[in-house]
Amino acid sequence: MSLEKQGVATGWNFLSQESGFEIGETLIEYWSDETYLKALWVGLLNTVYVALIGNVLAVLVGLFIGVFSMSPNWMISRICRFYVEIARNIPLLLQLFFWYSLFNELLPAVDQAYSLGDMVFLSQRGLKFPWFMAGHWEIPTLSGFDFTGGGTLTPEFLSLIMGLVFYTGAYNAEIVRAGIESIPRGQWEAAQSLGLTRIQMLIKVIIPQSMQVAIPPMISQLLNLSKNSSLAVAIGFPDFVTIANTTLNQTGQAVEVISLIMIIYLFMSLSTSFIANLYHRSIAHKGAER
């Protein structure tokens, strides 16, 4: 058997072997002499982190753009429509490359970083900002070739988030717009005739009703963003797929690693849609029963 010839044993034993590789950014402490299992765990946490932040931002972008694309102001609604068309019609992978090159080419070198009050710095090394660490606020300071102290959002993370949010936000905006358009005109008129301002109408009457229509398709966009986060592999962000990929290359355990990736994404998607459906059910049928 060819696997045996290559010295690859099937099974999950490789998980407890030493990984031997560094990971660029981690949410928990990790060293290259730890196991593959730990490395994969670090990658999974990074994936969940990106999915969580990305989805929250993409839903917010969707809400704002969706509502403003219905604005009576011609300029505002045009700009929103323009954004949606651009973002939906360029492949996500290309958008990720675009953001990544933007962060790498356009931003200044680390010693010429843009700074905001000498507290927040933006450079090719990413975004550095003050962060609460070990009991006190740490402000990033430049020492040698990089900043030390404070929090960091790396260029890889920022481009991944920008790409995912820009892309998925446009789909979310269309869903919100369709939701708003599905509300009968009488609802607007009733709210108007009571003297509510446009903002009050939207917040109190129109958006709550359109959300009931918008949530099911929005759930599938949540899942899309989570799954699309695996394109991180293309720009070198150490998400689960990137790390699983390295693991596969080093150990040759293709069947095991690929199954692991599939199981993890399946589990992530199912639990996301489970939670989202619970939420939808909690708001959907209010008052609908006769």
Partner: protein, 243 residues
């Protein structure tokens, strides 16, 4: 102020279609006006001009001393003084009956919740539906929903009430419960403009009947005179078809 609504030479178009032609109308406080006419004659549009759900192109409309124009603040002010009841109720389905009533007083009038709810419950009592306060609109019958819609408009303590065919979407046996509420309201001295096909209601409460056809006011009369013999040929024809 002797008139609460005045319309001078008002004209309204939908594209090329001339919906309302040279409308002149003044309404005194506490006056009850019933608008009659065949469908498409512009009666609903006329009523909807008063709280600017529709915009007019020419002429002047003054409601409670405020001239209606592009000024959004003025429009919102007028809308909070003018209640409206629609043919299709248009209750907010995601809010409870009580919340339907208190939304505008709390948001527009900045009233505190307790006092808005107190008045809302009194109004629901008045339209005989207080026991449904915590239900949702979808759980109520059409007649009950329309009574809630009237109470919702009243909860803003309006000076004028507009009714746009309030009983047309109701099952026949529910018409009366809604008309009773409207009659009570009329007796309490509310200024009312009603588009309706309920001739009995028109005879009972109207101070003035306005008969419209093809975008024009054809005839204005007290109901007794109008129903016993319209002056215009079109009015006679209309009455002969519906009575």
């Amino acid at each position: 102020m002797d008139s609460i609504i005045s319309m001078n030479n008002v004209n309204k178009y939908y594209g090329d279609f001339h919906v309302l032609k040279d409308i002149n109308l003044t309404v005194k406080p506490k006056e009850k006006i019933v608008l009659l006419g065949p469908s498409g004659s512009g009666k609903s549009t006329l009523v909807r001009l008063i709280n600017r759900l529709e915009e007019h192109q020419h002429g002047q409309i003054i409601v409670d001393g405020i001239t209606l124009n592009e000024n959004v603040k003025n429009i919102e002010k007028i809308r909070s003084e003018v209640g409206m009841v629609f043919q299709s109720f248009n209750l907010f389905p995601h809010l409870s009956i009580l919340e339907n009533l208190t939304l505008a007083p709390i948001k527009v009038r900045k009233e505190n919740k307790a006092s808005a709810e107190k008045r809302a419950m009194e109004l629901l009592e008045r339209v005989k539906i207080a026991d449904q306060a915590l239900k949702y609109p979808g759980q109520l019958s059409g007649g009950q929903q329309q009574r809630v819609a009237i109470a919702r408009a009243l909860c803003m303590q309006p000076k004028i009430m507009l009714f746009d065919e309030p009983t047309s979407a109701l099952d026949p046996e529910m018409v009366k419960e809604v008309l009773d509420v409207m009659v009570d309201l009329a007796k309490e001295g509310m200024t009312m403009m009603c588009v309706t096909h309920e001739m009995g209601f028109a005879k009972e409460v109207a101070d003035r009947v306005i008969f419209m056809d093809a975008g024009q006011i054809v005839e204005e009369d007290n109901p007794h005179q109008f129903f016993s013999g319209p002056k215009s040929e079109r009015g006679q024809q209309f009455l002969s078809q519906i009575l």
